[in-house]
């Protein structure tokens, strides 16, 4: 097991460096000059040139690239053009908010999606099944920002039930502030989870061991949960885990719409101000987390599946 994890991590290292390289060049392909942005259009060419030198942007591109990569190797992602703070520190301060949002979105999608999927599978072919199956088809195709605006309009503006922006300063307030963003983020996943659960469950319920459990005298609902769901959940968890990375990506939009602090807001701000080091650090961190999650999911999968754990 440990050897396996080590191998996976080792395999991730080249990917991370490829990501860093691509990132470096893409960031510099975006039109707009960071120095001009900071100083404003009216700045004299002389001041702009000075600032560019200060930022290291006057060096040849290959030299910048080498500096950047050496920095990455040392874990140094430079300082923000915007406020001179170490970029990674800003990332690490913002990340908990994003993580909280992504976890809440995931939990919500599991909490809603799994029961829907089970209900559809158990009453296969019934009206409930048709409703859930078609409902989730719509669910996967709703654009996140559109849904977010719709939710804000309904729950915050019309009903005044839930706050739109901010974080809240006590646990209950915090959850209330989390509700709409988490829902907007998780809704696409609810659909995925429900459909995965349904098909996985249908597969499992057709297995011989389900009949065998019934032949032991187990009631239908016990069989469905103890044996059906227990086995059907494995692929669902895997898919949810693998999607967690994409969900993290989705937080960028959701944080922006709801004005929440976090990695996404930090990134968008950095893109607007052409804050190269900050963009690089944020995206690099996003990809590292994405890969870490995938490795973690693999481990979790093997943990849920005794065949792999002891195989």
């Amino acid at each position: 097991m440990l050897g396996y994890v080590a191998r996976r991590v080792a395999m991730a290292v080249p990917t991370i460096f490829a990501v860093a390289t691509i990132l470096f060049f893409i960031v510099r392909m975006v039109p707009g000059d960071p120095a001009v942005y900071l100083l404003g259009d009216m700045a004299t060419p002389e001041r702009v040139a000075n600032l560019r030198a200060e930022m290291g942007l006057d060096k040849p591109l290959y030299q910048q690239y080498i500096d950047f990569m050496l920095g990455v190797l040392r874990g140094d992602f430079g300082r923000s053009f915007e406020n001179g703070m170490p970029t990674m520190v800003r990332v690490l301060r913002a990340f908990p908010f994003t993580f909280e949002l992504a976890v809440a979105g995931t939990l919500l999608s599991l909490l809603i999606g799994i029961p829907l999927g089970v209900a559809a599978a158990v009453r296969r072919g019934s009206k409930i099944d048709v409703l859930i199956t078609s409902g989730t088809t719509i669910g996967v195709s709703i654009p996140v920002f559109w849904l977010a605006l719709l939710l804000i309009e309904f729950f915050s503006v019309r009903l005044g039930l839930l706050p739109v922006t901010g974080l809240g300063n006590n646990p209950i307030e915090r959850l209330r502030h989390l509700a709409l963003p988490a829902f907007s983020l998780g809704i696409g996943m609810v659909a995925t989870v429900a459909r995965m659960t349904r098909s996985s469950m249908l597969g499992v319920l057709g297995k011989d061991y389900i009949t065998a459990v019934r032949a032991k005298g187990a009631p239908w609902n016990v069989t469905v949960y103890k044996h059906g769901l227990r086995n059907a959940i494995i692929p669902v968890v895997t898919v949810v885990g693998l999607n967690f990375g994409y969900l993290l990506g989705g937080t960028v939009l959701v944080e922006y719409v709801f004005g929440r602090p976090g990695l996404g807001s930090l990134l968008i701000e950095a893109v607007f101000s052409r804050d190269y080091p900050q963009i690089q650090a944020s995206v690099f961190f996003f990809s590292a987390v994405f890969m870490a999650v995938n490795i973690f999911v693999d481990i979790l999968y093997s943990f849920l599946n005794p065949k792999i754990r002891y195989g």
Binding site: D208, A218, P219
Partner: protein
Amino acid sequence: MDTLLSVRNLKTYFRVKRGILRAVDNVSFDIKRGEVFCLVGESGCGKSITALSIMRLVPYPGEIVGGEILFDGVDLLKLPEEEMEKIRGKRIGMIFQDPHTSLDPSYTVGWQVEEAILLHRMIKKVSKLAVNLLKKVGIPAAEKRYREYPHQLSGGLKQRAMIGIAISNSPELLIADEPTTALDVTIQAQIVDLMLKLREENGISILLITHDMGLVAEACDRLAVMYAGKIVEKGSVEEIFSEPLHPYTKALLRCVPRPDKDVEKLVSIPGTVPEFPPASGCRFADRCPMTRKECFETTPEEVNMGNGHRVACHLYG
């Protein structure tokens, strides 16, 4: 010996797209206490569906549409589901064809044996009981196996564990649906011996489903031969093996593989079991070497040939 199970005019149909599939059509047979009763016939003739009908576990879209299943005098088809749950696993145990797929891969073998016990009895020291059961069905190193997952056991050991589960509450009837088909030949013999030993020790009745006529000759007391959802002949093993009456039974017995020749079991009967046989006439007619006009027109009635030997064929009408 008195009758333990009496299946009468059982009808189990599947509503499929192409029509109504009469998987079990008017099937009747009795199983006495302490006997091994065999149900034989080709693949697809309705053996498993008959067994699952007795358990009331017919898979969707199948449905029991008629008949009675009297178990110890009580019609199982009339019981509410909760009452049926008290009979499954407690008074009737069942084992299946493929031991590799009959155990839940997510739980240990011991857990699954305990589940079977705890579904029917409140017992504190259940793990000890479970280990003893595994010992009883001949699983070596039972304490170790108890903690293992199904995929760590061989097919033979899994089938032993399944038998342990099926007999965990000392049932009166054990339904074994082709319990040896998926196993190696040497293991097959061991599993059969184990079942016969249980019958010997506990006086349990066994409904043994198989298409292995060699196994029938070795293990069973009485048998019923099934063809396309109907029973065509039934009687004691001695009667039927010495004087098979129905052309299908004769063909089946000719197909018994002999040690000196390496013959595949059922290939020598030309044709296959029809899925949607005509509503009237004998279902075997289009494969039968001895048909007459009436075979295609009227369904043969069961005729009593004495000694409990019954056959449904126009040759004896």
